[in-house]
Symmetry: D3
Subunit: 256 residues, 6 copies
């Protein structure tokens, strides 16, 4: 196996990355999507039904297709970030990073000293990268990306401070939660004008800070818009949504 | 839970049944497809990656959506037919039924005496149907369907005899294997004229025998044709194919 | 699938709810108990051997029997509460809620804004409830119950404050831990007089606050007592205990 | 770990063995029942929902409790008999042994040459028994029992011939299937007079042949009767039935 | 992913292939061994504890390391051969091929018409090979190897006939069973002179027929001997044996 | 099953304990290593790929070999410590105990009141120990050991304070992380002089406090050194490392 291309290089390439998004509890699904024209695959363990064992299994299969594997961890479970890096994941998305302290704790589990306090033990990552331990220790912090989710008013208020935390490589915007937050809990509408304004602002601040900006989109059409805005990475729908869309399209044709 | 509607009644209703087809090894997928507008869901353990444990788990989830669960067994593994009926499946598709003896053995595992020799022990089926043991024994043979796959020249040659075997409720046509067989192993083309002629013939013979005719189709469009021909049940594509179609559609929109 | 009856309505019906309690790591067991005359089924991930994947699988199977699925989370793992609600659980029991801060954090993961900070992503819950996203967002906080476990002296001392926390729907009493706490760690006796007095007090305070009071019982006989006291929900024994009781009864008859 | 006591010695001890019967797909359940006062534990892979992986896992756990692990294989899947012996099972029950040829094929997979044709590879059995390969090869045929199920008219007619097959250690009577067979498919009643007569006859013939006679019973009370008749082994109910009985007993007490 | 190199070409390369041998039920183990200097990896489902789901998972992981995945099926379960080819396996070893009929039935499940009767449905194989269906149909028979195990006196007697069966690509010698057979069931000694003579003869016959000869060895040292004899493929020990050897070596050093 | 020998007694016996270390996600592996000459087996859920369900399964299998089962939990996931004790584990290793507060929280989840706040519910531990609930409550704190990992400069600075925390039974040194910390993040070298000095110091402080000192070693040779230094427990390599060593040794012999 060749050493994996750096996910940092991929995200800095100028060509926005499109990510598959997986919440179903079976590694064959991200493996299958990794063979489609997605640039990377995210396993969602915050809202998805995927457990640790399945996410670890998926890692090797996604990497086998030559794509970086990423994971969204549950709120505040930063120890899981380290575990997934150890298994060979190339990126971690941490939801609800609402304080500087949240961002610092997340970074501390993502990066080896002196940047953070990630503990040594990358067994899966060594196997998948083919690197020797000493090499991996030297290069490890640059082999994976940490995305802090910005999805509340609190996070927007301190976005520059979050972006300035060493070890935070970028932000990932959650439009649905953002719409709930910005509407004071009265509305769930990821396409609202308030959300649009907020995500433009967040994107600009990330670019100003020289860090990555990523975002979730519910459809391919919305993803095209977000790509045009200049996001480095845009995730699209979810395995469940894609499967349902495929089924509905086929059923419509069958009943035509 | 209400006693399940008879799958026989559903297939005799005059409205052709559209079936989802699942080969990925996770019960959440047939569960999800069962909530779409399919009429039934087939788990493929011949060519799919699904193991026994997953197929059993899927049974309860498909039935929970009010749809009959069916399974395709591996070639010649008729004991599995009984095991899936015990678990609560409503139908079994047996591939490569090429002799009368194949058909008789398949039927013997599908039906209680005196029709066949199915052994008593329907634990899952009792739980899912809500029937008492005595009731289930009396009604069991009518609660599920046995489909003999017709997909070789040998099978076509004796199709009337297969259809006449007591306990065989219908045929299920496999167009890909049929195309290979009819071309003498030179071509794999389920849309060939030879296949078309053969399936029309098989459908006519099944209807003449008062039994069911079912068939696999690779796309919704092809399913529409087969429905119009008068098949009682048409399966469409597969979970993998639907997921890939959904992904490709979304990616196309994202890159537009 | 019909929209599920509200678990709030069920608990307010005046008829006390009896809950099965499951700690064995296989979803077929809660599925089986859901078909018995229990009113709801609790999956115990604090003291039981059940992992996340199995608890999620159980959710759909319990709901398929028309019963609400509930879960007890590990101490302090409030992010899991959100994940189980996303999967379609109707209630969460959080152990060792000993401070107002504990109660507030638990509630924040159980309820959408403005009550709490539950993040949006109820994929399983949408599938099981049949609700559209907008509907689920509006009704979600009322579709599930949050039970704070009262099982220490600290918790008893601030029970009114815990009950007053917005988003806390009720208390769940843990008699064994309570007996350990009240005896200063000298005794494990859930039937002690101190426990009895404490649970009467806690029940009265919950009723005064207009919230639910629930409790664990080791046997059916004890459950009958607790039902008579007026608890809204009483859990009974555990899957392991019921299986052992069934086995011992059968063996006694066999050796008679 | 001590070398396991021979199951042959246990069955010849004069004290009838009571067996637990497991069809739920989780190894913790047979492990739990093995710690109750059963003498052995049977995993049912004919009518139960247990897959190969789970049955293998159960083997080590049952043996850890010092009890022999047994399995019922699917109809005709004699290769599975060898696989379970390799995993360390102490006995195999083969359903529907209706011809001499069935009995011979079953025995051939159960016993090493020259008695049968069992292939070498007892990895789990070596680990669990602590024996060296040479020892296991010499003693292996005596370390496990093969039970041929007698549950049809055909089997009854040739019972002496079945019992005479080298490598068949005994018969196991299936009263439900026997009742269906003896009634010509009109009745499922394991307590019928015809069944009673048949099982008395079968027991007498097994004893005359110096081989074991075992039988399934649905309840502890029925097991007591069968023990008194002189069966060497009697299985009782099933994990599902015991769990339901425990649940119904507890619910009755709770609602008293 | 690149199209896989043909396993036929690899075996014909003149450099003997060393195969890892896996019987533990976890796909991470063959994945790990595939990254060591083995040339291919065999999953043993005859004597090992591996189930279908785990073997399928292992397939993708072994192929991801650029090595062919092979499987040994249970005795007579030829339908499994097709299922593993569909999953993407590159070779199948069938134990106890003792008659021409055994060899013909095995070949019929390994090769598409007109050579055999393999049914169409290579979903995993298409994904792993990257081939289009039409291409895979044309090339499929050459993309995988069928090894008939020669391990009895009957098989030796007809070895030329077995080797002449179209669709049989080679033989795989099982020295332990062969030693039992040749000694009339009195001895289990894979290093006996009788076995040595038999394997030399078998190797010569395979070479004379222009087909492959493969064999199992219990140690690396024995493998070196067999390689020198000219076998095309030699498997070494097993995952269990390698792990135990590693443990014993480390413990010896620790206690030195 | 006999009551398990106390792990405290084993560690105080004067004979240093050698522990196997497992990170592969399958319970059969620790079961296998438990039958080798290790004194105990550790499941690593911090850096390993093992999930909760697999670790629980492993517990019973390790104990079945008469060896204590231990686990390393993820950083800060102290609730998991209680869950593993409930499942029957005999010891827990908590990584990155860097403050007194860390040590106190860890101890609180490890010990029943009045020492800590462990909640009652030891279902697996009762089953595996054979103790009655009252007995287990009285003896429970002495039946398991809590190891606080010392692997940072902060921890070394307060090592006496950590050792003085009631409920902390010993320290476990992580040489790799220690080398990173002591080098200010510039070097990963568990054999550095700085690490050597630090571990001698830590060992001396543990002995002075009358508590246990344990440590990880990458090889058997290094373990011999550490045993000579007087550590109570030394873990050796990992399942992955042992398997790779076994494979490389066999391959070397095969290619000799
Ligand atoms: Mg969000
Ligand atoms: Mg076909
Ligand atoms: Mg408690
Ligand atoms: Mg029967
Ligand atoms: Mg062999
Ligand atoms: Mg460390």
């Amino acid at each position: 196996m060749l050493p994996r291309a750096s996910i940092h290089d991929r995200l800095r390439s100028g060509s926005p990355a499109l990510a598959a998004w997986c919440g179903l509890p079976e590694a064959a699904i991200p493996a299958l999507l990794a063979r489609e024209a997605f640039d990377m695959v995210v396993i969602d363990t915050q809202h998805g039904a995927v457990d640790f064992a399945t996410a670890v299994r998926a890692t090797a299969l996604i990497e086998a297709a030559g794509k970086p594997a990423m994971v969204r961890i549950p709120v505040g479970d930063f120890a899981a970030a380290s575990r997934y890096l150890d298994a060979g994941m190339s990126g971690v998305i941490a939801p609800m990073i609402n304080t500087i302290e949240d961002a610092r704790r997340f970074a501390s589990f993502m990066k080896f000293p002196p940047v953070g306090e990630r503990s040594w033990g990358p067994h899966g990552a060594l196997a998948l990268s083919g690197l020797q331990p000493g090499d991996y220790f030297q290069k490890g912090n640059g082999l994976s990306v940490s995305f802090a989710m910005v999805e509340t008013r609190e996070a927007l208020d301190i976005i520059d401070d979050i972006l300035a935390v060493p070890g935070i490589d970028g932000i990932f915007i959650g439009p649905s939660d953002l719409s709930i937050a910005l509407s004071g809990g009265t509305d769930m509408n990821p396409a609202s004008a308030m959300v649009e304004e907020a995500l433009d602002h967040a994107l600009a601040r990330a670019r100003a800070a020289g860090k990555f900006a990523a975002i979730y989109s519910a459809t391919g059409e919305r993803a095209a818009d977000l790509v045009r805005k200049g996001f480095h990475m845009v995730s699209i729908a979810s395995d469940t949504a894609l499967l349902r869309a495929g089924a509905q399209m086929a059923l419509k044709a069958a009943r035509a």
